[in-house]
């Protein structure tokens, strides 16, 4: 299925792009994160399991077992630091 990825803050800098569209066979966020880590060094550094990474589907923060849906907007970002 096709999904739209968005990266923010340190994740965006490490991967080197802010957004991309991909075809994926991953069923949930956990599988997708592993799929991205396997894409190369930049992704592996940005999304490494040792790091606190937050994920959102269609702009709502979601847990790693949340299923993906066709054309979903999926975002990866570090813990938030506003205010």
């Amino acid at each position: 299925m096709k999904i739209n990825l968005r990266y923010f803050a340190s994740v965006r800098e490490q991967i080197g792009i802010a957004s991309e569209s991909i075809d994926t066979s991953s069923r949930d966020l956990s599988e997708l994160r592993n799929e991205l880590i396997a894409r190369g060094e930049h992704y592996a550094i940005a999304l490494s399991h040792g790091k606190a990474i937050r994920m959102a589907i269609n702009q709502a923060v979601s847990s790693s077992n949340e299923p993906l849906t066709e054309n979903a907007e999926v975002a990866f970002f570090p813990p938030v630091t506003g205010g």
């Binding site: 968005r6 923010f8 803050a9 340190s10 606190a52 937050r54 959102a56 702009q59 709502a60 923060v61 975002a75 970002f77 570090p78 813990p79 938030v80 630091t81 506003g82 205010g83």
Partner: protein, 157 residues
């Protein structure tokens, strides 16, 4: 009821925002506001500038959600939340939260709740410039604990 949520690069005027919140509702007897500003030090280092990034769309949605939660918890009338993004310097204003209510207790509490919520739930990220170079600001566990006081579990940091 007056409601304003704005993510903007330009500065804001506290008096003007409070006046907009106050006018037109004679049931208001209290307005509480909080302004966050840029410090020149963080984690022991000099900070010469701060760059704020956010997730357009999700940011506004998360702020509207936190205001509706505040309305269900506290007896408040209107709310204003303004958060600046882009490049900021020490002394600059970053964030404004203002709430109106009939009596002071509810707006004091709602204002603090909104700030605690914003700190850990709204998708903003700060990058600071120190003499050692740029670095992303780390989230604080104390901010998660602050939100927990209101009965909301947070695991941001």
């Amino acid at each position: 009821m007056y409601l304003k949520v704005s993510i903007q690069t330009q500065d804001f005027d506290l008096s003007q925002e409070v006046e907009n919140l106050r006018l037109g509702n004679s049931a208001i007897g209290a307005i509480c506001s909080f302004v966050g500003t840029v410090r020149d030090r963080n984690d022991g280092d000099q900070v010469s500038s701060l760059e704020l990034e956010h997730y357009p769309g999700m940011t506004e949605a998360s702020i509207h959600k936190m205001i509706s939660q505040a309305k269900s918890k506290f007896d408040i009338f209107g709310s204003v939340v303004i958060h600046r993004v882009g490049l900021l310097k020490p002394l600059d204003q970053i964030v404004l939260v203002a709430v109106s209510s009939a009596h002071r207790g509810q707006s004091f509490q709602a204002c603090e709740f909104l700030m605690d919520y914003l700190k850990t739930q709204a998708p903003f990220w700060k990058k600071e410039l120190t003499p050692q170079g740029h670095r992303w600001v780390d989230a604080r566990v104390s901010d998660d604990q602050a939100l927990k006081r209101w009965g909301i579990d947070s695991a941001n940091a």
